[in-house]
Amino acid sequence: MLKSINNWREVQLKWYNGTTIEQDYELELFVKENNISRIGYHGPNNYLEELLGSKQTDNLDLCVYYVNQLFKFSEIVYDCNKIINEKLLPNGFLYLTVNKFLAEPEYFENSTQDYDESIFIFLKEKINAPVIKYHSGKTDGGIRFNWVHPLTRVYFKNVNTI
C-alpha cells in the first residue's frame, strides 16, 4: 500500500512537471518556520520521513500522523491523545492528515449535515489539544492529490506543561 502511494506521488510529479505536492510543501514549511528538530511519525509515510528528516520516538517537537488507509475516527482520536500525552514535548505539535473517503462510518452525536465540518467538530471536541491550523478536505473533484497526501489536515498544539 505504502509503496504504491509513494510511487503514485512520483508518477504525479513526473506527469505534471512538479517538484513537490502542495500538501508536502506546506508541512515542510511549517517545520522550518517553527524550528522543529525532533520529529516522530505515526502511520506509514516513508516519503515524509525522508522529506522532513529526523525520526524520533519520544520528546517530540512534532508528530506526523498520516492516515491513508481504512480507518475509524474513534481510533484516530485514541492514538492522537496517546501521542499528545506520551510523546510530545510541551508546546510540541501533532500534524494529522486523513483521507476522509477511507473512514469507516461511525455515528457522532454532534455531527452536522456537512462532513468536513463534522470532522472538524469531532476532532476538536475529542482530541485533548487546541487546533492551531486546519485545512478542510472539502470535495475537490479529485484533482488535488488527496490520495497522495490527504487534504484534511489539522495541526494541534500540546499545551500540557508536564
Binding site: W15, T19, F101, T139
Partner: protein
C-alpha cells in the same frame, strides 16, 4: 521549485495515463450483474473506458482522448463531455433504452451522494433505465452521520462487494 496543487487533466502530455488511472477497477461479477439488468434496446456506456467492456453498446468517451492509441471498443464516439448541450443532443439522437456508467471518476468526481443523485436524475430524462456503479470509497458523504446502507437506501442502490449499484 514547482509546487503542484491541482491536476490539469486535459492539457497534460500524460492525459491517456491519467484517464486510465481514473477508471476504477470493477469486477467481472459486477459487470455481469449490470448486463443482466439491461433492458432490451440500445445501450449507451458513458465515460467508463470502452476498452474495458464487451457490452453490446454505443460508448461515449471524452473528445480529448480521441487521438490516443487506446484499444477503444469499435463502437466508440468521442464527444466533449463538458458540453452539456452536445451530450444531451447526442443522447436525444441515440435515444437509448439504457445509460450505463461504470466506476468512472469523470462522472463521480468525489462528489456528494446527493450531487450524484441529481446527475443521475438529469441523465434519466434521456433513457428508460440508468445504471451507475460507484465504488464505496470514491464519493462523498458524512461518514460521521450515515452508514453505507443508509446512503444506498437514499440512492435506491444495492451494495455489491465494495460498490454501490444504482439502477433507476
Amino acid at each position: 521549485m514547482s509546487i503542484l496543487s491541482k491536476i490539469n487533466i486535459v492539457d497534460s502530455d500524460h492525459v491517456k495515463d491519467q484517464y486510465c488511472s481514473s477508471l476504477y477497477k470493477i469486477s467481472n461479477d459486477i459487470v455481469n450483474l449490470v448486463k443482466l439488468k439491461l433492458l432490451a434496446g440500445t445501450t449507451v456506456v458513458l465515460n467508463s473506458g470502452s476498452f474495458r467492456f464487451d457490452i453490446d453498446a454505443i460508448y461515449l468517451e471524452p473528445k480529448y482522448l480521441a487521438q490516443h492509441d487506446l484499444t477503444w471498443h469499435q463502437n466508440t464516439l468521442f464527444i466533449n463531455y463538458e458540453n452539456n448541450m452536445l451530450l444531451e443532443y447526442t443522447l436525444n439522437k441515440i435515444n437509448p433504452t439504457n445509460i450505463v456508467i461504470l466506476n468512472s471518476e469523470i462522472f463521480i468526481q468525489y462528489r456528494s451522494w446527493s450531487d450524484i443523485d441529481t446527475e443521475i436524475k438529469k441523465l434519466k430524462q434521456f433513457t428508460t433505465q440508468i445504471i451507475v456503479t460507484v465504488p464505496k470509497h470514491r464519493f462523498d458523504f458524512n461518514r460521521l452521520r450515515y452508514t453505507y446502507e443508509t446512503i444506498a437506501e437514499k440512492l435506491n442502490a444495492t451494495i455489491v462487494e465494495n460498490t454501490l449499484l444504482i439502477c433507476h
